[in-house]
């Protein structure tokens, strides 16, 4: 009986394998489109491809996959996306950084729906590459102005009461290449240093409360175990508010790119403060003025002075459809879509303009509207084929209104690099293509 069972299983597998070979037409189309898109990414412009449907798969015909056996369980034990989605990739801008170790890649925002960024697609930012850490050999040291200096294992951390929160993560340099002029030609590169996940871990306040804070404690230094020993000074107020020592994102262990096995996460604050591969927390009475809070991540103004400890990611938004990667195919009715977010709390409203900011229409906020999280908005729109200048403008619960580029430059000049949250403009052309522009 055993051998007969095996034979049956083998036969089924063979049938399944054969079935996978059938839709050759799509496979060819996929390869062609995938390569075209991979190539356009290399040169900086990803234009959305449309896979042409093969006649034999369309009604009244019945497609091959419906007339065959599909692949069995455990074909991909940790799962992977459909092979037809090869275009969905993080991408980098080669000229932006000196090498790939202190560098950044961008989330493909145009390809994503809802508010959660899949772990595989969260933008990357490293200062010394991704360390390859065995969690059994990783430790979190907490010392300084505490009653009991302590060394915790990952297992120790997981014993504390856990907290989960859906929050955005944004590099303060997101859009930083656009201060002087429109420079990037895709949404991925104008806004892709942005992601949103469910983060799970232990509130830093729980840990600090456990070890006991001494009088005059005012700052916490967070430090990573990577080669750069990434380090930032965090005010104690934030540490005791909603800062989280994270070991999981979107339900799975943190990805190595995101700080496996543990990272700090400071909701609403510039991503650089959410130190990855966290190894040490030192409590002190003064800030440390580390390289990443003096030389970098300070905001230089036109008069030569610079803003320091500018942690907050202010209210921002962008239209994700249409966009350069997702042009319009034809005249007609569309749901224009976008994302809004604010480091101060919830998004209160988003307005959309199609005429470069002369007139505005309120958009719908969709799904969950969470504080310090990406918020999805949408708006029905009839496109008559005329060129348009599409913008979105978000307002957060403090009443702060996302500024225009003119306002932002008037306040900060051209050399601030960080925290560029100005209203963004997409130029919709008569042929449906979308390009990045800045307007007066």
């Amino acid at each position: 009986m055993a051998s007969k069972t095996a034979t049956t299983a083998q036969m089924l597998q063979r049938i399944s394998d054969e079935g996978q070979k059938l839709p050759q037409a799509e496979r060819r189309n996929f390869l062609k489109n995938g390569l075209l898109l991979a190539g356009s990414a290399m040169t900086g412009g990803a234009i959305s491809g449309k896979v042409n449907a093969a006649e034999e798969n369309l009604p009244p015909n019945v497609p091959a996959w419906t007339r065959s056996l599909g692949q069995g369980v455990l074909t991909n034990p940790y799962g992977k996306p459909s092979r037809f989605e090869g275009n969905i990739q993080r991408r980098a801008v080669p000229w932006l950084t000196a090498d790939r170790f202190a560098s950044i890649s961008f989330t493909p925002l145009a390809e994503l729906d809802g508010i959660i960024t899949p772990s595989s697609l969260v933008f990357e930012r490293y200062h010394s590459g991704i360390p390859d850490i065995d969690p059994d050999d990783h430790r979190l040291m907490i010392h300084g102005m505490v009653d009991r200096p302590v060394i915790l294992t990952i297992d120790d951390l997981r014993r504390f009461p856990s907290t989960s929160m859906i929050r955005f993560l944004e590099c303060p340099a997101n859009g930083g290449m656009e201060w002087r002029a429109a420079q990037m030609d895709t949404l991925q590169f104008t806004h892709g240093m942005l992601s949103c996940c469910e983060w799970t871990g232990v509130l830093l306040s729980t840990i600090l409360q456990e070890v006991g804070l001494q009088k005059d404690a005012a700052w916490v230094l967070a430090e990573g175990a990577d080669g750069s020993h990434m380090s930032r000074s965090i005010p104690l107020d934030k540490a005791m508010d909603d800062a989280l020592v994270v070991y999981a994102q979107n339900g799975e262990p943190l990805r190595p790119e995101q700080g496996y096995p543990i990272r700090l996460f400071n909701p609403g604050w510039e991503g650089n403060t959410s130190v990855k591969w966290l190894r040490r927390l030192e409590v002190g009475d003064k800030a440390w003025y580390q390289r990443e809070e003096t030389s970098k991540y300070t905001d230089l103004l036109a008069d030569g002075r610079a803003r320091k400890f500018s942690y907050l990611q202010e209210c921002n938004s962008v239209v994700t459809f249409p966009c350069p990667e997702k042009p319009l195919q034809d005249k007609g009715r569309y749901e224009v879509a976008g994302l809004a977010w604010s480091g101060t709390g919830k998004i209160k409203r988003v307005d959309v303009s199609f005429d470069g900011g002369v007139n505005w229409r309120p958009a719908r906020l969709k799904g969950l509207v969470l504080p310090k999280a990406l918020t999805r908005f949408g708006l029905d729109w009839d496109w008559d084929g005329s060129p348009a200048m599409i913008q979105s403008r978000a307002v957060d619960e403090t009443g702060y209104v996302q500024p225009t580029f003119t306002q932002l430059r008037a306040a900060r000049g051209m050399s601030s690099i960080y925290h560029r949250n100005a209203i963004h403009t997409w130029r919709l052309h008569a042929d449906g293509k979308v390009t990045n522009v800045q307007i007066s």
Binding site: L35, G45, F101, H127, S128, M141, H143, R148, V150, L152, T153, D156, R159, T163, S164, A181, A182, T206, Q209, E210, V211, S228, R280, W288, Y289, Q290, R291, T294, S295, D303, G304, R305, A306, R307, K308, S310, L312, E314, K346, D351, G356, V358, W360, P362, L365, L368, V369, L370, R393, V401, T404, Q407, A411, R412, R427, T435, N436, V437, Q438, I439
Partner: protein, 319 residues
Amino acid sequence: MCRLARLSLVLAAFSLSACAADAAGKNDSAGEITITEFNAPVVQPSGYFGYGQDASVEEIAGWDIDIRPDGVGLPPGGATAEDGEMLYEDQCALCHGSFGEGVGRYPVLAGGEGTLSEDRPEKTIGSYWPYASTVWDYIHRAMPFLQPESLSDQEVYALTAYVLYLNDLVEYDFKLTQDNLALIEMPNKDGFFLDDRPDTSNEACMSNCKDPASIRITSAPPATEEVDSDVVEASVAEAASGQSTYEQACALCHASGVGDAPIPGDASTWAARIDAGREALIANALAGKGQMPPKGGQIQLSDEDVIAAVDYMLEVTAN
């Protein structure tokens, strides 16, 4: 009291809309639920959990590397710029240039005085950094790029002194020590102020917000060239594991030839090495040689990956 609302917020949102209205947020309209906060655990007294091991003085000393502007954290020691000159040439000039001018896109360390309010500000240690302590801290913490924490405290003092000397902040023979480092006044020490945003104030105007005739396109990215799919296909087909390892791990130095790294395709830089034989090259790639750390500093690579990268470089050079 809606007890269930203390469950995770996603659960509360989807399954307990009635509870969500009073405990977790409010319903603005059908299908749109707002939730105010995460649910923090109950605050417990210190020592309630008792997890982990006490950190010993020795354990802390091994990891406690931060230096503050007031000098707290500096180890004993001292050195001059003169002491640091050769070391800088050897360890730093590859990327930062002999005069701190920066190579390629690597950071410029010196110069830039008085440029902060200019159109193209140059933010260097001398022109921008507020404290000298950060120089010592960062060199010790993160440099050299390929082998951080490989320098002795004395070497860090020497390099800090030399970098300050490149910025005309100390004399060539000035001995920088744990006692005087905090006393060095950086030119831009008063150039920073605390975050005072919001610094803009827009209004949510809805109609006739500006004169349509005033709208002009002020900038747009350069036009994107059409992609030749055949060329892309060919380049993807050729990509082998040796090449990808080379690009990921080796190109940092070998593409430009910094630190005397032989450049693939440039036979003159390889001649002597090829004479030594493939086995010797592989042995050096695995164990490190000269400026190159073992496996180029990418210790997670398998030996096979490194060998494939060596073969790739040899192949490119032979062709």
